[in-house]
């Protein structure tokens, strides 16, 4: 698998191949699930699982560090779209608190030959993109909400993905070790057994002092 992908790296994959394969996948899913909501959910999930891995590739190629605010994050997402899909969405419609923005696409390579029949008008055809953004950002400790608000497939003027910042995920604390905030407000890491010893010592001292 990995060897194959490094061979492909110098060549570019034909975008029509991607469009058609993706179309085949979605229509097969529609047939298999027979339920629009389920298909929407699964597409998002596929995207999420892709994003979780894609972020590592993105980070290693661009050598980028942590983003300090959402504007920087938006730029990186734009850069990633350019890198992986060769489209450059416009970033606009910032919310006043700069925690919410839109990615506006003039063209969406996934929907190039697509027409939605009337009976599946609730299908979020490119839902995989939202999942991808959400998965990728979750790996860098950002929880976001991501959804389509406009879609050319549904007759809107442009395609717009709305990304909303929910919260920063905390750095995970190690399992099996205990973290104590001491009175000097420095995080000390003490294993359970050491902690037990300290408690015992403290109790002994207390007993000695009580005797005096």
């Amino acid at each position: 698998m990995a060897r194959q992908s490094s061979r492909l790296e110098s060549k570019k994959v034909n975008s029509e191949l991607l469009t058609l394969t993706y179309g085949a996948l979605v229509s097969q899913m529609l047939r298999d699930f027979e339920n629009l909501e389920e298909v929407n959910k699964q597409l998002e999930r596929i995207g999420y699982n892709m994003g979780v891995r894609l972020i590592e590739d993105f980070l290693s190629r661009t050598n980028s560090g942590r983003c300090l605010d959402m504007r920087e994050t938006a730029d990186k997402i734009q850069q990633a779209f350019k890198m992986y899909l060769n489209v450059q969405p416009t970033i606009s419609n910032w919310a006043a608190a700069t925690d919410e923005f839109s990615l506006i696409f003039d063209v969406n390579p996934l929907t190039e030959f697509v027409e939605l029949p009337a009976d599946v008008s609730n299908l979020r055809y490119s839902g995989i993109l939202c999942g991808c953004i959400r998965g990728a950002l979750e790996m860098v400790q950002l929880e976001v909400q991501c959804q389509f608000v406009q879609d050319q497939l549904k007759g809107d003027a442009s395609t717009e993905i709305r990304v909303k910042f929910i919260r920063r995920l905390q750095d995970a604390t190690p399992a099996g070790v205990l973290i104590i905030t001491s009175f000097v407000d420095v995080h000390l890491l003490i294993s359970r057994s050491v902690l037990l010893c300290l408690t015992l010592l403290a109790n002994t001292y207390a007993a000695i002092i009580a005797q005096i």
Binding site: M1, A2, S60, A172, P174, H187
Partner: protein, 139 residues
């Protein structure tokens, strides 16, 4: 110059991979125990370093050095942690770890669809990782 050993942790502190070369003296505790202690120490050093920093730290903790060896630490924004012990004269280890991340970790672990986020067992990865380390000028 020498590379002694390498630990790779995920963002939850699970040991994903361990490799050693030229390590003559063992610590005398099990590998799991050692990894746990290592992660615990790094975790507290990292948070202490960031706390004590006089201005907003960008990268935080990078390495420490004793008179026998140096421990280098590289953390990706996604929380994968690479820890490598070298001798004290090795230079630009940080760049080396970045290269290791993009050329070995991403290629042979992240892009391997069978990897499920736990300790790495792939033989191809082990082989490539070993080659990469042995080819480096530090080895």
């Amino acid at each position: 110059m020498t590379i002694y050993n390498l630990y790779i942790f995920d963002k939850y502190g699970t040991l994903l991979y361990y490799g050693e070369w030229n390590r003559i003296k063992q610590s005398g505790i099990t590998k799991e125990e050692e990894a746990k202690l290592m992660y615990g120490m790094l975790f507290s050093i990292k948070s202490f370093v960031n706390k004590i920093s006089p201005n907003d730290p960008k990268e935080g903790f990078l390495y420490y050095k004793t008179n026998k060896y140096a421990l280098h630490y590289y953390e990706t924004p996604s929380g994968i942690k690479f820890v490598i012990n070298t001798d004290t004269v090795s230079t630009s280890v940080k760049e080396f770890l970045q290269q290791y991340y993009s050329k070995i970790w991403v290629e042979y672990v992240v892009k391997n669809p069978l990897w499920n986020g736990t300790a790495v067992t792939s033989d191809l990865f082990k082989q490539k990782s070993d080659e990469f380390i042995k080819q480096s000028i530090m080895f």
